[in-house]
């Protein structure tokens, strides 16, 4: 693999430090089907998924994060007739994040499309 080592990237008009690009990139992401036989559609920096129970999944990273101070974005598809199903961040460790898909104050649900994205510092 070739490595290009530069401190700035420019298109001739605008210039940005490579640190902004590296730090601003998602460090892991996943899109999976949480119904039927669970399956990962696509991902990056994910080694496996643990189907813990209804609507509860661990996303296990290949390359761990440096600490637990990272940020997680998550979303799910809409399930009729439950319009306010959400993906919650249940817990974080450096090597995994646990997502919980639920309707606030009621039950957990499996949905056909669960998404997660992680930003922060890599180990």
């Amino acid at each position: 693999m070739s490595i290009l080592s530069v401190s700035n990237i420019t298109d001739g008009t605008d210039t940005v430090e490579t640190g902004y690009v590296v730090n601003g990139s998602a460090k892991a992401w996943v899109n999976f089907n949480g119904t039927g036989t669970i399956a990962i559609r696509d991902s990056f920096n994910v080694a496996s998924l643990t189907d813990n129970s209804t609507g509860n999944y661990n996303v296990n990273f290949s390359n761990s994060m440096a600490n637990t101070g990272y940020s997680v974005g998550s979303s799910v598809d809409q399930i009729s007739p439950y319009p306010i199903i959400q993906a919650y961040l249940a817990s974080v460790q450096t090597g995994l994040v646990t997502l919980n898909v639920a309707q606030p104050g009621t039950a957990d649900y499996d949905t056909t499309s669960v998404h997660g994205q992680v930003s922060g510092d890599l180990a």
Partner: protein
């Protein structure tokens, strides 16, 4: 040596994902009321495992479990290992992503971990929170 994350990025651009034909069922003996969990290998990770020279030795992950938050970890900088078979990759993943109390420390008589073909995982998730490993199936195997 390149960073693991860089190798994963390069591998994703080059390798076709591989959907594993296996799943790992397990029950955590420290949580007897919890249902059986199912470990699902990631297709891009499996492609990297089968290709070789991308993933670090499993020992590095095991040692990193004891590294405090914020301290440098070994696995991103370790020399990558060679290609694995799918079965070896599943064993690697068990050690990496399933708690040691399941695959290393458990000394009971019940079967708490089982590698199964994906077809044996129920596609109907009714009563998902009551799933347990079928001990009779284990006896008959």
């Amino acid at each position: 040596m390149s960073h693991l994350w860089d190798r994963l990025a390069e591998a994703k651009s080059r390798l076709a994902p591989v959907q594993s034909k296996y799943r790992v069922l397990f029950e955590d003996p420290t949580q007897p009321d919890a249902p059986a969990a199912v470990l699902v290998p990631d297709p891009n990770w499996m492609a990297a495992a089968l290709e070789g020279n991308i993933l670090p030795p499993i020992d590095t992950y095991l040692r990193d479990r004891d590294v405090p938050d914020g301290q440098p970890k070994e696995h991103p900088y370790a020399e990558p290992i060679g290609a694995m078979t799918e079965e070896e990759a599943i064993e690697y993943l068990i050690q990496k992503d399933i708690p040691p109390q399941v695959w290393r420390d458990y000394q009971g008589n019940r079967s708490v971990l089982k590698i199964v073909p994906v077809e044996l995982i129920p596609s109907d998730r009714s009563f998902r929170n009551a799933w347990k490993i079928n001990q009779e199936m284990e006896m008959a195997a």
